[in-house]
């Protein structure tokens, strides 16, 4: 006896120009105006987000601020507040969880929701999505674009079809009608490089990809070749990982664009120490240890080099991370001016239950000191204790967008 098909629809809720829209909602005089969210607008850096009003000028996230100012001189340049955006993202997540327990946060401004049973019919999913858009607008003053589909792929690609403030519902058949005539690069996960390689095989459109010989794709791209072909048919069996089950991190890193190109070793080293400290603290806070340490160096010509080293043992200790990063930096830095520095730890393992404390804090003076420092920071905040080697660097940097020093530093009591 065959079972009745289970009703199931996936929603992808994508907040429109999230960071810029939050600033417009919170500061009504910015509504309808081009808004560019960045680090400290008085220093250089990159565009973090651009409102829809700024986008026709060609401004987009990741663009150097200098170029954005040239393209869109009349925009409002607003210093971003990442902790505010995360807090609002969490409030949105709570709203989604009031609809279904099956919510997978995909990024700070996107989440998948799974609707099943009587809520999983097309009509019910559409009504729920429309109601959700309304509630987001009323409570947060923000708009969202929602894609609805039988799987995550169709929901995600559908959400991008009608932005901002869109609502798109596609089944597999409708997906093919909409996407097959489009360029292969319109597929989720196909970037410019992959698109170029597809082109070389004579695959220009999504339809070409759907009808390409499976063997040829496998020969060219390995295991992802046939997966791409399936995706072009609107097939996707990627499971939704609900929020309550947790998501394993693959890497943790921090990077910073320097206020000006710098070739001063002490300053660069101080920056690497601060970044290593932030990464180590985050690893310990989230219960991870890692084995691969990487340093990212971007020079004044925007040439980026990433160099990494595998450690003999797992660690969450900022000294061990910093020693590795410093060695890599000394080995690979040409001595020329640098624009950006980054530190990442990957090959992560979750540390849980018994032994966690021992792994993080071996019974050494350094381990006990780190444990004490963590306790002080847990109670008083990140800026309450910092490695001394970063102090000169902090005074000069003044502001680090998206680092823990910026916002917290401002809130400290100005009186001695």
């Amino acid at each position: 006896m065959s079972r009745a098909p289970v009703n199931r629809r996936i929603l992808l809720v994508d907040m429109d120009a999230f960071f810029a829209s939050v600033e417009q909602a919170h500061h009504p005089h910015l509504k309808g105006q081009p808004v560019i969210v960045c680090g400290d607008p008085s220093r250089r850096g990159v565009v973090t987000a651009a409102s829809y009003e700024a986008r026709p000028s060609g401004v987009h996230a990741g663009m150097p601020l200098q170029e954005a100012r040239r393209l869109c001189p009349n925009a409002h340049y607003v210093e971003g507040d990442p902790e505010k955006y995360v807090a609002i993202s969490l409030a949105l997540l709570n709203l989604y969880l009031s609809i279904t327990p099956d919510v997978e946060p995909f990024s700070v401004d996107e989440a998948f929701l799974s609707l099943q049973g009587r809520h999983g019919t097309r009509a019910a999913a559409l009504a729920i999505a429309a109601d959700l858009k309304q509630r987001i607008r009323e409570r947060f003053g923000l708009t969202a674009s929602i894609g609805i589909g039988p799987n995550k792929l169709i929901a995600k690609m559908g959400a991008g079809l009608a932005k901002p403030d869109g609502l798109t519902d596609l089944d597999e058949q409708a997906f093919r009608e909409v996407f097959w005539p489009l360029e292969a690069q319109s597929m989720w996960g196909v970037g410019p490089q992959l698109a170029t390689r597809l082109h070389a095989l004579g695959i220009a459109t999504v339809s070409d990809l759907a009808h390409a010989p499976r063997e040829a794709l496998e020969a060219a791209f390995g295991i992802i070749g046939p997966q791409l072909r399936e995706a072009a048919w609107g097939k996707d069996d990627t499971p939704l990982v609900p929020y309550h089950q947790g998501i394993e991190a693959k890497s943790m890193g921090h990077e910073v664009t320097l206020p000006e190109d710098c070739e001063e070793p002490a300053f660069l080293e101080g920056t690497l120490l601060r970044l290593s400290d932030q990464v180590g603290r985050r690893l310990r806070g989230e219960g991870y240890v890692g084995r691969t340490v990487a340093v990212k160096l971007r020079d004044h010509r925007f040439v980026t080099r990433i160099r990494q080293r595998v450690l003999p043992e797992f660690t969450a200790d900022h000294r061990m991370i910093f020693d590795t990063v410093r060695a890599l930096w000394r080995e690979h830095w040409s001595g020329g001016p640098l624009r950006l520095l980054g530190v990442t730890v990957s090959s992560l393992a979750k540390v849980s239950g018994a032994g966690q404390t021992e792994l993080f804090t071996p019974d050494t003076r350094a381990g006990r000191l780190r444990e004490a420092m963590d306790r002080v920071r847990d109670k008083l905040g990140e800026a309450s204790l910092v490695p001394a080697g970063t102090l000169t660097h902090r005074r000069r940097l003044g502001h680090v967008p998206f680092g823990p020093v910026s916002g917290r530093g401002r809130l400290r009591n100005p009186e001695p």
Partner: protein, 85 residues
């Protein structure tokens, strides 16, 4: 309109209604700013302290961000648009 990032302690006339904090007016640089509406609210944790943030629009249509720090308790004006020093 100009944007300023600040950390100015300010005196805020505050209402506590149904467990919620509501800034009503505050004094800044010798002027009284009356809150027309709260346009956004969010929290941030600093160590074990929960800081409460409010975006507000004044009756003069200026825009501000206020932070309530329960450790004082005290209020900090963290951002201002439109008002000149």
């Amino acid at each position: 309109m100009t944007f300023e990032s600040l950390s100015d302690p300010v005196d805020v006339l505050t209402a506590f209604v149904d467990g919620r904090i509501q800034p009503l007016r505050f004094r800044w640089q010798g002027r009284v700013v009356r809150v027309r509406r709260v346009t956004g609210e969010w929290n941030r944790r600093e160590g074990s302290t929960l800081l409460r943030y409010f975006s507000i629009e004044s009756h003069a249509a200026d825009s501000y961000e206020l932070c309530y720090d329960p450790r004082g308790p005290r209020w900090i004006l963290s951002r201002a648009w439109g008002a000149k020093k």
